[in-house]
């Protein structure tokens, strides 16, 4: 039986000039930022001794000490407010999380500005200099203090997993790609220096919400891991 809502004829022929990211860049909606290289070449330190991702979170739990927070500073009552659509996050290891043998991550949404203080703010550059649009998203990475001691009841865990099944290695690179279902994950996970791609779902950060990256390891000690970070996201009024 035919689908009455979607007939088998009358399709329109098109040629798709741009797929997603470049169309978004062309309209001035795509922003990217990275920490600048410094003479010390040590990246940005994150909080040490984060042992778990428990909720309610304790002092050594990653939900209270995220490595990264992306906050959408738009007013939720503004009908033209933009949402933030993460595209990728890349971390390059400069100092490993001693003496972790298994290194975990989670991405968590929450309906509040989770960021209170600390860390390093990334300058989010519009990748199209022909656009005058400035980023609404505030992106901070490092040793972060959060606004409330634990996430709200509205929080949503949207992704989690293991980055390495053996001790991380200096210059290990982790690349999260958001909303790319055909992405493969075929990296070695052993204790040898590697690049690793990680599939993450599409995520929408509405006005007034935060997305945070949580990193932890059961035996992660008193020396904070350090990373170079690069982040890319899109900002659009939903559906327009």
């Amino acid at each position: 039986m035919a689908n009455a809502n979607f007939p088998g004829a009358s399709s329109q022929k098109v040629s798709n000039l741009w797929n997603a990211d470049y169309a978004l860049a062309d309209e001035g909606s795509y922003f990217a930022g990275a920490n600048a290289w410094t003479a010390a070449n040590t990246g940005i330190v994150i909080t040490a001794s984060i042992a778990d991702d428990a909720l309610p979170a304790g002092a050594t739990s990653a939900p209270n000490s995220p490595a990264m927070i992306i906050y959408n500073a738009e007013n939720a009552n503004n009908p033209n407010a933009v949402s933030i659509y993460p595209r990728y996050c890349k971390l390059t290891t400069k100092v490993i999380p001693l003496t972790t043998v298994t290194w975990f991550y989670a991405w968590r949404l929450d309906n509040a500005n989770r960021y209170a203080s600390g860390g390093t703010a990334l300058t989010m550059n519009n990748v199209n200099p022909g656009s005058t649009r400035a980023a609404k998203g505030a992106v901070t990475f490092g040793v972060l203090a959060v606004n409330t001691t634990t996430v709200s009841s509205a929080h949503r865990l949207v992704s989690n997993g293991t980055l390495a099944g053996a001790a991380p290695v200096v210059l290990d690179t982790y690349l999260w790609q958001f909303g790319a279902p055909s992405l493969a994950m075929d990296s070695a996970r052993a204790a040898t220096v590697k690049s690793m791609t990680i599939q993450a779902p599409p995520v929408v950060i509405p006005p007034g919400w935060s997305l945070q990256l949580e990193l932890w390891g059961a035996t992660y000690g008193a020396t904070g891991a350090q990373y170079d970070v690069e982040w890319g996201h899109v900002e659009r009024t939903p559906g327009l």
């Binding site: 399709s11 199209n128 022909g130 210059l171 590697k194 690069e230």
Partner: protein, 237 residues
């Protein structure tokens, strides 16, 4: 609550003939600038860091590649340049006991190229098109006019490989493709292909995009065969 701006009904049925690159090639907007295999190009030696000052040992001032959009910013029909991929094949490894090999991509307002390097000739991949490129492309031991200006935008930075590279190591930078995966051992002794995800970049009229490469204790110059692919269009049309 449903998204009032984006209902879940009334989708339109389409047949997508081409996705991006082939459609761009078909309309005559796609170019490749490649170097003959037997003619690799040396980049600047002894570039040790990416600090933002005018010194030959700083990658910001000694870029490996400089792409300038020669269009007039005041021309409403000026084209922007959209990088698609950059492929570097190693023919001579970077000398010295390098423990890391790094890159950055930086936009800046104005023509940042001063001298050095080898000009690459853009070719329209559609011989039926009479379009010619507005890009001016140099690869090699380039010298910038100055350190990055206050308008400069760092759009990507990362580590390509550890230790000294291997002859025939090939680096492929993918621009604006969220399906790019980076799953490779970085210190493999055997020659390898390495994919690197970078964001989409729009090189607006009058702007420069430069590739910066550097490594700790890097001494003698690396050499590469280069292939750079990009599209040119009037933004938004």
């Amino acid at each position: 609550m449903a998204n009032v701006n984006f209902g879940t009904a009334n989708a339109q049925k389409i047949v997508n003939l081409w996705n991006a690159d082939q459609a761009l090639a078909d309309e005559g907007s796609y170019y490749v600038a490649a170097r003959e295999y037997g003619s690799p190009i040396a980049i600047t030696a002894s570039v040790a860091d990416d600090l933002n000052t005018a010194s030959a040992t700083h990658a910001t001032f000694a870029p490996a590649m400089s792409i300038f959009n020669q269009e007039n910013p005041n021309n409403p029909n000026a084209k922007s340049i959209y990088p698609r991929y950059l492929k570097l094949t190693t023919t001579t490894v970077q000398g010295g006991p390098a423990t890391d090999w790094n890159y950055a991509l930086r936009l800046d307002n104005g023509n940042k190229y001063a001298s050095g390097g080898t000009a690459l000739t853009p070719q329209n991949v559609n011989p039926m098109s009479s379009n010619s490129s507005v890009a001016k492309i140099y690869f090699g031991a380039c010298v910038a006019t100055a350190a990055p200006t206050s308008a400069a935008r760092l759009v990507s930075l990362g580590n390509i490989a550890t230790a000294v590279s291997v002859v025939m190591d090939t680096y492929l930078f993918h621009f604006g493709d969220v399906n790019t995966k980076m799953d490779q051992l970085k210190a493999a002794a055997a020659a390898k292909n390495i994919s690197i995800h970078v964001p989409p970049v729009v090189l607006a009229p009058g702007w420069t995009l430069q590739l910066e490469m550097w490594g700790t204790s890097y001494t003698t110059a690396a050499q590469y065969v280069v292939e750079f692919a990009y599209a040119e269009r009037i933004s938004g049309l």
